[in-house]
């Protein structure tokens, strides 16, 4: 039972102080979760604290390996619209 921070993390530090278990630590190339300490906030909060402040969709996975904040859920940008814009940029 632990969440995981993956490579799309932008190292903004926001999650580190809100973790009730001090399970998150600064690391290279991005922040990481100590899976031995992580409780998924059980007993402390009804929702994952790290994933409730993380601004990057997909950067934090639950214990099943699923994005807690899936594409489009935070920015409101529909994923296909984002893909379109990125493809446009690649073309230049």
């Amino acid at each position: 039972m632990a969440v995981k921070i993956i490579e799309s993390c932008v190292n903004c530090y926001a999650c580190e102080p809100v973790c009730p278990s001090q399970a998150i630590y600064e690391a290279k190339p991005h922040f990481r979760v100590n899976s031995k300490k992580c409780t998924e906030c059980e007993g402390d909060y009804p929702v994952y604290q790290c994933a409730s402040i993380c601004p990057i969709e997909g950067a934090i996975l639950n214990s099943l390996g699923e994005a807690i904040n899936p594409p489009g859920s935070l920015t409101g940008i529909p994923p296909e619209k984002m893909a379109e814009a990125m493809a446009e940029l690649q073309a230049h």
Partner: protein, 496 residues
């Protein structure tokens, strides 16, 4: 010759409301002495000061507690210049070292701000550690902070302890329905909250924070991002509200939204305002409030005069090697600051005398004209057209000269051989001057001269090293004498 730099309501509005009449300098003159004292050498708060004094931001605050639709939380773009973007995140210790290195190297740097790249008050330990150390180790530097306001009420007490006499709050709306279109979420009481509910909490915190700061005697500037179709019609109301609560300056900035920034507004094709729309809104707000028009929307790690960025000279590896004797630097800075202040004071007196003289002259009956000016500071025309990275836009009218805005130029002359696209870059620069009828520079080359003329913009290199307002008025009078100001060409626009 002369010009009050009158950043106030267009005369058409009928008279002046108290506190916002007359020139930018007059506005300063009308502020209580305690406030004027605080802002006279602050480049962001005084249009006059921004020609002389420099500022810097240290990027110690990466975390944010809200999401704005004009922001994207990646911050690694050396070529981008907009708020929220930095190249290197600093620890408080590195920030203190960098600040002292810059202060010693650029003595006209008077102000250190913490502006991000996240929200400074969402990183209270890093932000306050930096402020605490700087107020002890570099007491001659003014400290300021900008915030989205969500965590502000809880931070006011601590802010008042650290020699911080200026706070900027970004307030884009006082209406939760509008707020829901700008802020997709906030992190509040251990939860992510979305929609109107989130916007309502944010707005309440901003307003509460504003009131608490005023009660503590801390100066508050309010920033607003103008988003056409979202909050543009509403910002005059915001201006009234924040003024009534005691904010002393309102800075309405244009939305920056490009698809490549990956922001909601950028990707969704939300446009920013045109220069005309921005000016109209600033004029509409100015009846109620002192307006700031010289903001450059700088990066959260900018260094130097507004409009320039010398951050490259102070990267971590470079400051590591610098040996700073701050006591000696402080003595040197004091002498330089006094000299600049004396120069500003004498120019202010000269300007006031010219304003008086201008009032005595028969009043012209001509339409207003926009002119672009190339300057590298000191309030004079001292830059070659091809070297200008930006132009300052002034409006000349029978009432005088007033500063309107700045426009970024595409620098077409790099002074080397990389001129493959000279023509198109020059044309882009000329396009950025749309609406202006003259451009005043220390020099203008032959090729741009011809193209400027063809675009209906009169190049003028006859006033090098002259004070900007005087030169603009001189050119205005020449245009009037030549009968160019009788009819209203399509390109020109009245201040109404």
């Amino acid at each position: 010759m002369e010009l009050p730099v009158l950043n106030d309501a267009p005369k058409a509005a009928g008279g002046c409301s108290a506190g916002s009449c007359g020139s930018t300098d007059d506005q300063m003159d009308q502020l209580p002495d305690s406030i004027r004292e605080k802002v006279q050498n602050h480049p962001c708060y005084s249009e006059d000061a921004h020609h002389y004094f420099a500022r810097m931001h240290v990027a110690v605050a990466p975390a944010c507690n809200i999401q704005c639709h004009y922001c994207n939380r990646k911050y690694d773009c050396a070529n981008e210049s907009r708020p929220g973007v930095v190249s290197e995140l600093l620890t408080p210790d590195q920030a203190v070292k960098k600040t002292m290195a810059v202060a010693a190297t650029i003595p006209q740097m008077t102000v250190l701000g913490i502006a991000g790249p996240g929200d400074p008050l969402a990183n209270p330990e890093r932000t306050f550690e930096t402020f605490r150390r700087l107020s002890e180790e570099a007491p001659d530097i003014k400290l300021c902070v900008s915030t989205n306001g969500l965590a502000l009420p809880d931070a006011v007490e601590e802010l008042s302890k650290h020699n911080i006499d200026h706070v900027t709050i970004t307030i884009n709306t006082v209406d939760p329905e509008i707020g829901a279109k700008i802020y997709p979420w906030i992190f509040w009481n251990n939860r992510r909250i979305k929609g109107v509910k989130a916007a309502k909490i944010l707005i309440e915190q901003q307003q509460k924070g504003l009131e608490m700061l005023i009660a503590k005697g801390i100066l508050v500037k309010v920033n607003s991002v103008m988003i056409p179709g979202v909050n543009d019609k509403h910002l005059a109301e915001v201006s009234k509200v924040v003024k009534s609560k005691g904010a002393f300056l309102h800075n309405v900035m244009p939305l920056i939204a490009e698809a490549e920034h990956g922001t909601f507004y950028g990707v969704m094709g939300q446009r920013g305002p045109t220069p005309d729309e921005l000016q109209d809104l600033q004029d509409a707000c100015s009846g109620d409030m002192n307006m700031m028009r010289h903001c450059r929307q700088c990066r959260a790690d900018a260094v130097g005069l507004l409009g320039e960025d010398r951050g490259d000279e102070f990267t971590l590896d470079k400051i590591e090697d610098m040996k700073i004797d701050y006591q000696a630097a402080m003595e040197k800075r004091k002498v330089i600051h006094e000299a600049i202040q004396a120069e500003m004071d004498s120019k202010r007196l000269e300007k006031a005398a010219k304003v008086e003289q201008f009032k005595q002259e028969p009043k012209l009956d001509t339409r207003p004209v926009l002119m672009a000016v190339a300057t590298s500071g000191q309030g004079v025309i001292n830059m070659h057209f091809g070297h200008a990275k930006e132009f300052l836009i002034y409006e000349a009218s029978p009432d005088g000269v007033r500063f309107i805005s700045h426009r970024k130029a595409d620098q077409y002359c790099g002074g080397d051989t990389t001129c493959g696209e000279t023509e198109s870059t020059l044309m882009r620069t000329i396009r950025s001057l749309e609406g202006c009828e003259a451009v005043l520079c220390s020099k203008v080359g032959y090729e741009p001269w011809e193209q400027l003329e063809a675009a209906g913009i009169q190049p003028n290199g006859e006033h090098p090293m002259e004070p900007i307002e005087e030169a603009v008025m001189a050119v205005y009078k020449e245009m009037a004498a030549a009968g160019k100001l009788d009819a209203k060409p399509e390109a020109a626009r009245a201040s109404a």
